[in-house]
Symmetry: C2
Subunit: 200 residues, 2 copies
Amino acid sequence: MSEGSRKTKGVHKGPRSQRVIESVFEATLAELAELGFAKLTIEGVAKAAGVSRTTIYRRWPSKSELVAAAMEPLLAPYAREIDSGSLVEDLLALMEILSENLGRPKARELIRVLNDPSLREVARSSADRAFAAFLRVFEHAQARGEIGPEEDVEMICHLTVYGLTYWAEHHGRFPGEAERLRLLRVVLAPLPGIELPQLA
Amino acid sequence: MSEGSRKTKGVHKGPRSQRVIESVFEATLAELAELGFAKLTIEGVAKAAGVSRTTIYRRWPSKSELVAAAMEPLLAPYAREIDSGSLVEDLLALMEILSENLGRPKARELIRVLNDPSLREVARSSADRAFAAFLRVFEHAQARGEIGPEEDVEMICHLTVYGLTYWAEHHGRFPGEAERLRLLRVVLAPLPGIELPQLA
């Protein structure tokens, strides 16, 4: 089978195909941030990514599937096994993943348009996966006795995730290392014996 | 001058006029939450409020002015003098004002559509006024020596306001008294000597 005929029959798996997928995802997130979900079109994404519409439809038959797929690379890092033996180290690692996502160009617009009712499931599942990663490092800390079983880890996680995500709403820029440490200094204050590193 | 002729000449000041204003504001916020700013029309608001378009245009010549005016009753309570002599009491009073706003029907939709770029100024000024009210009670507490001058009140305020506002994003409902106390238990933990009431 020639390269040319295979192209129309199925989904490529090679490095070229990987680059195509990446540019489609980038274009999807950029178009989504720019236009919102209602005005997003597969045609527009195809144009922005420099691929044919068929290339996109073949893999993601609907806009929702395309958006969910494009979000995946942002969410995958939360599934990483993070368990350094130190709650603070684990939290700093997770906050760095979240801050990297927040620091993307158009991240604020993306947060805004993810609130579109048509994307409720995608938004909910994204938030749940980030939140679950934070909960997990607290559970590890409880399991090894670093913090007590009675601590309000749900509230601490909530304040950490949403405090970080919406820092830019009020302060105009996403949180850097200094803000992350300031945030931890507050939310970890209820936990006896947890020490924070000094800001370099 | 008869009631009828006065109606077309200027802006009423009586109790009937007050009721008209209130129903226009309610209709504006409801339409805004439902449709977003782009699809909001003065005609639609007039219809929903049961008034003529002229009644609205006469007072608020643009959609932005109408929306800003309709937000005002939600924001006015933050300007109230709140200074009971106790940081915790002051914070609970402010959190109640914020929770009342958040507990309005369609509040989540309203938070979402306020992120529309066309409403950036309205959204920013709303957030600033709520935030300033929280900052003020911390400054009172510092002035009377209840908390030290070195505490990170900006971060504590940020976590309180955004933690409360976005509680429903993850938990599906706006925070009740129990969640407000849980939130304060975390964010006030860095402050030595601050005691929280037990949940009734």
